[in-house]
């Protein structure tokens, strides 16, 4: 095939003044601006462009659009490598570096081609029948290396992607003749109309058949108010009129620098007009996959749009009337049309082919000559099945098997299809939800009829009126089955995945007769082209081999995306730090200055500890915990969940939310409470304080506040709407500085805290509203570490001031900042539980000693009924216990399992929290243990990854069991 460039005016999309250098497989070439990589390769006479997936047969450019099966390339290097790009839609830009895929070492000498020789033993599904002995793992690695086309990038993607949301009245997908007519009519009828053109310019096929009319039509649509977006391809129709499209912003040039690469359009449309045209169906004949066998429409497009003649002597293998128009175009482009071999008998032709072309009717191709390029073919007529085949010398075979309307968007929207026998195609069977099809994708091919129908449809949709009747296709007859009976050799149905008629026959023979089984068993239609040119031929062949009409065979499900779409385009800005919000402390800078080591805790960025030089996290935490016990420490508790609950029914409502009773609290009193879900499982815990008769201050865990606030709101709105209260999260309005330790009060007094807050004047588990240097405070004496402890809630913008003033006097009280790790040590020393660490989704309040007195409570609180089920009353439940290491030295690993015998055996529990206690000089741990309440003093075995450690069940708290330290130093 000696493809070559045609002179102007051929090549309506070319800018012949702009020469574009590019490279393919290391060789340098030149094309023009407006070329695609495929058209530029053809113009430079490059015939061999790819290798097929399974047999590694040589392949050349086959099509001119998204349906290209054979010319996939990797583009760009390193982090910029984009695998499997479709060369037929890749716009040529200066410095484009492309490399062919799925071949080693090169396209011309590919070891994989050995598969073609073994083809006889590699029918469809051969891998199900073998590779079982000794074991699939023997064979898998080499099979995986053979499979796959391109290669993935080797570093994270430097390019950026974004998304944009828009609402329109009428969205027109496709800017060909039908699309533009519909858009103009809809816009003239007053609708907000947007038109999406997948390519660089509107007009579709009209743009290269009649550029002048295409420009005028596009301009008139825009004058009427329609907005046309180019390089924007609608790839999916989703629920409720959502259409998603991908806009290409930059092509892959050599300048490997980060840019905004693609944009995702999320379009909500009241009505969608699909005007996406139709794909040409390839003819089925032996070796119809050779480089030089191309879709007839593509050959015409390369000539008219890209100024490339794909060959000098062409044979048109036809099965429809449009083949004769294509033949005429190729003759105009200076190519010699050797013959039109029409599969249909003369009587079946819709119209007379006209003078100048030799037509061989009722005939088909019985062989193709040439391996890496077509050198000729042989033709045989049905009338003389055993007669001598006639050889035709040619370097190009144009395949014109009829058309397959692009019914993808119609199907995404749930539309049904209908088979037209005469035209041998599936067309939409009426509208589908918001999607109405016009033009070729609706099976309307006659230009005038299509334009008129599109206009009526556009106007009707804009006005919300009845749709116009569907006109006839106007395209003449096409045969469904085109293969010559008795022809020998591989007659391909799916070019990319190497599926031929023999494979379809095998599937039918082995009863893989559902069209869905055919696809999965032979992999036809599962390539990157998703069966755009193979689906109809495959299902027609299946019908032939299983005695069914195409309508009875049906199609597989059309699924988004219409073309492969970059993962980054779906993700947009949700990468790196923006993948998921990270909550920051109000006075983060203060902690940075103190050398804090930050970690993520429940999506908060908080200090785990404040390591001093030479300390790691654990050493720092040990020091901090000891310092709190000895002197004093401060912790930034701002993430603590805080809810303001106000209203006359607030107390009654909280009685329904908490296991314990809240309504008996007096103003200023605070009580620890646990919240369940309806299954009785402990979901959250925290302190509830009464501010006034009709107002409560509710603390929850920092990770659980959004879930708990939502749960309260759900119960209020859905179950107890009659109760008069409101729940307002105020977590971010209040900073929280917790000052704990025996000298905590002395430290606070030193910076001017009101004497009314002194331990003697203010009892533990009470809340006082006070002021400090003009700042209103809510101060609560609550202790998660067992020492004297003040939780100071203040307006968030005053947090830094309090931290600075405390830090200025810290040394006097040997006071330190302490992080989460130290807090965990301190609370474990006291045996206080941490919801989500010591408890899980099965823990009931009774398991953690929080169910005392439940029977006496009146309110049917959330989850209460679940506590009366047999599983809840089971004496063998796992309950929270304290554990000592038997040797007083070895740390019990968190997650270690408890069981008398070594595994495999039934576990009796696991370690939930475990730290070395600096205060006691030995490890302390908590665990969930079967019947733990009655096993204090028992010696148990703890198993961790094969190691066994002895432990003893004991009682918590480990430190200050009588709680004498709660009021701090005298």
């Amino acid at each position: 095939m000696s493809a070559h460039r045609l002179p102007a005016p051929w090549g309506t999309r070319l800018d012949r003044a702009a020469r574009v250098p590019f490279s393919f497989d290391g060789r340098d070439f030149e094309g023009f601006a407006g070329d695609t990589l495929a058209s530029a390769l053809l113009a430079n006479g490059v015939r061999l462009t790819g290798r097929s997936f399974k047999y590694h047969r040589p392949r050349g450019v086959f099509a001119a659009g998204v349906e290209e099966t054979s010319t996939l390339v990797d583009v760009g290097e390193g982090a910029y490598r984009s695998p499997n790009e479709n060369a037929a839609t890749l716009e040529l830009v200066p410095g484009l570096t492309a490399s062919s895929v799925n071949r080693w070492p090169s396209l011309r000498f590919d070891f994989g081609a050995i598969n073609a020789r073994l083809a006889a033993v590699l029918p469809a599904g051969f891998y199900y029948k073998t590779f079982k002995w000794p074991d699939w793992h023997w064979y898998e690695p080499s099979i995986r290396r053979m499979a796959g086309l391109g290669r993935v990038a080797n570093a994270s993607d430097p390019d950026r992607y974004e998304e944009i949301a828009v609402e329109v009245d009428v969205l027109v997908v496709g800017a060909g003749l039908a699309g533009l007519c519909a858009a103009r009519a809809a816009a003239e009828a007053g609708a907000r109309v947007r038109v999406l053109a997948a390519g660089p310019q509107p007009g579709g096929a009209l743009a290269y058949r009649d550029p002048q009319r295409a420009r005028e039509l596009a301009a008139s649509a825009e004058r009427a108010g329609a907005r046309i977006a180019t390089r924007t391809l609608a790839f999916g129709v989703y629920d409720h009129g959502l259409v998603c499209a991908r806009e290409k912003l930059v092509e892959q040039d050599g300048a490997q620098r980060p840019r905004l690469r693609e944009r995702l359009w999320k379009i909500r449309a009241r009505a969608v007009i699909a005007a996406t045209g139709a794909f040409e169906r390839p003819m089925v004949f032996p070796d119809n996959d050779r480089p030089g066998v191309m879709l007839a429409g593509a050959v015409e497009e390369y000539a008219r749009a890209f100024g490339v003649a794909c060959g000098r002597r062409v044979v048109v293998a036809a099965n429809c009337d449009s083949a004769y128009d294509t033949a005429r175009s190729l003759r105009e482009a200076g190519m010699e049309v050797v013959a039109v071999v029409d599969r249909r008998r003369e009587a079946e032709r819709g119209r007379d082919p006209g003078p100048g072309t030799r037509v061989i009717a009722g005939a088909g191709l019985s062989a193709v000559f040439g391996r890496n390029g077509v050198s000729g073919c042989s033709v045989r007529q049905d009338a003389a099945p055993t007669g001598r085949a006639e050889r035709l010398d040619c370097d190009l075979i144009a395949s014109a098997g009829g058309f397959a309307p692009a019914v993808h968007l119609h199907s995404h929207a749930g539309g049904r299809l209908r088979w037209l026998d005469a035209e041998a195609m599936f067309v939409p069977d009426g509208p589908a939800g918001v999607v109405v099809s016009v033009g070729a994708c609706a099976g309307v091919f006659d230009a005038t009829a299509a334009a008129e129908h599109a206009e009526l449809a556009g106007r009707a949709l804009a006005r919300g009126e009845r749709l116009p009747p569907w006109p006839a296709p106007g395209i003449g007859r096409s045969l469904a089955h085109t293969a010559l009976s008795g022809a020998r050799g591989k007659q391909f149905v799916d070019l990319q995945n190497d599926v031929d008629l023999g494979d379809v026959a095998l599937a039918a023979r082995e009863n893989y007769r559902s069209v869905e089984h055919l696809k999965r068993y032979t992999t036809t239609g599962m390539g990157t082209d998703q069966g755009k040119t193979s689906n109809v031929n495959a299902l027609v062949a299946l019908g032939e081999f299983s005695g069914r009409e195409p309508a009875a065979v049906g199609t597989t499900t059309f699924r988004p995306p219409f073309v492969p779409v970059t993962l980054g385009t779906f993700v947009g800005r949700r990468t790196g730090a923006l993948y998921r919000p990270l909550k920051r402390l109000p006075a983060e800078a203060w902690h940075v200055e103190r050398g804090a080591l930050f970690e993520q805790f429940g999506n908060w960025w908080r200090p785990a500890a404040y390591p001093q030089p030479g300390e790691d996290l654990h050493a720092a935490a040990q020091r901090e915990a000891a310092a709190v016990r000895r002197g004093a420490g401060l912790m930034d508790g701002s993430p603590l969940g805080k809810l303001d609950v106000f209203g006359p029914d607030a107390a009654a409502f909280l009685d329904l939310m908490y296991v314990g009773t809240v309504s008996t609290l007096k103003a200023g009193q605070a009580r620890y409470g646990v919240v369940l879900n309806e299954h009785g499982v402990v979901m959250d815990d925290g302190i509830v304080a009464r501010l006034a008769d009709n107002r409560f201050w509710v603390n929850t865990t920092s990770a659980g506040v959004e879930r708990t606030a939502a749960a309260f709101e759900e119960w209020l709105q859905c179950e107890y709407p009659q109760l008069r209260l409101c729940i307002t999260p105020v977590t971010s309005h209040y900073g929280n500085v917790t000052v704990a330790g025996p000298r905590a009060w002395a430290w606070l007094a030193s910076i001017g805290f009101d004497a009314a807050l002194a331990p003697k004047a203010m009892r533990h588990m009470t809340l006082r509203e006070a002021t400090w240097e003009g700042t209103p405070l809510k101060v609560m004496r609550a202790s998660f570490c067992g020492e004297l402890s003040y939780e100071i809630n203040l307006p968030v913008d005053r947090t830094r001031a309090l931290l600075d003033r405390l830090w200025a006097r810290a040394a006097e009280f040997e006071a330190v900042p302490y992080g989460i790790e130290a807090l965990e040590i301190l609370r474990t020393e006291k045996g206080y539980l941490h919801v989500g660490t010591d408890t899980d989704g099965t823990t009931l309040p009774g398991d953690i000693g929080m169910a005392r007195g439940v029977e006496r409570k009146a309110a049917n609180f959330v989850g209460r009924r679940s506590l009366l089920r047999p599983a809840a009353l089971d004496p063998n439940r796992f309950v929270l216990v304290a554990l000592d290491s038997a040797d007083g030295r070895t740390l019990l690993p968190v997650g270690a399992q408890i069981a008398p015998e070594p595994p495999p055996t039934r576990t009796q529990g696991h370690v939930t929290s475990s730290y070395f206690s600096p205060t006691l000089g030995r490890p302390v741990a908590l665990a969930m243990l079967e019947r733990g309440g009655s096993r204090v003093g028992e010696r148990i075995k703890v198993h961790h990854l094969g190691r066994v450690i002895e432990a003893v069940v004991t009682r918590a708290p480990f430190v200050d069991p009588e709680g004498r330290r709660i009021d701090g130093e005298e």
């Binding site: 989703y238 629920d239 709105q717 009924r865 679940s866």
Partner: protein, 101 residues
Amino acid sequence: MLRIRCIHCGPRDENEFVCGGTSHLTRPPLGASDGEWAEYLFFRDNPKGLHLERWRHAQGCGAWFNLARHTVTHEILAVYPITERPPAIVERTPPSAEGSR
């Protein structure tokens, strides 16, 4: 992605909402049997067709409301306040067991 008309805020994308499952369940009293409690907690019609369900406009006004929605086509037949029974038109539409694709 659904487009749900919030009862207060108007049409919004599905990712602003949270579905709260089947609506119009009555919470049994404390004295209910384990079987009645299980029916309330777990057992559902799970219809392939019309479903009366609760939704919360989580990233909007925060309100709960009821939706009558078809679980195959996702068509939304009605939006009505959380405290009300379904509107008449919904009652008459039988939950169809239409084949799904």
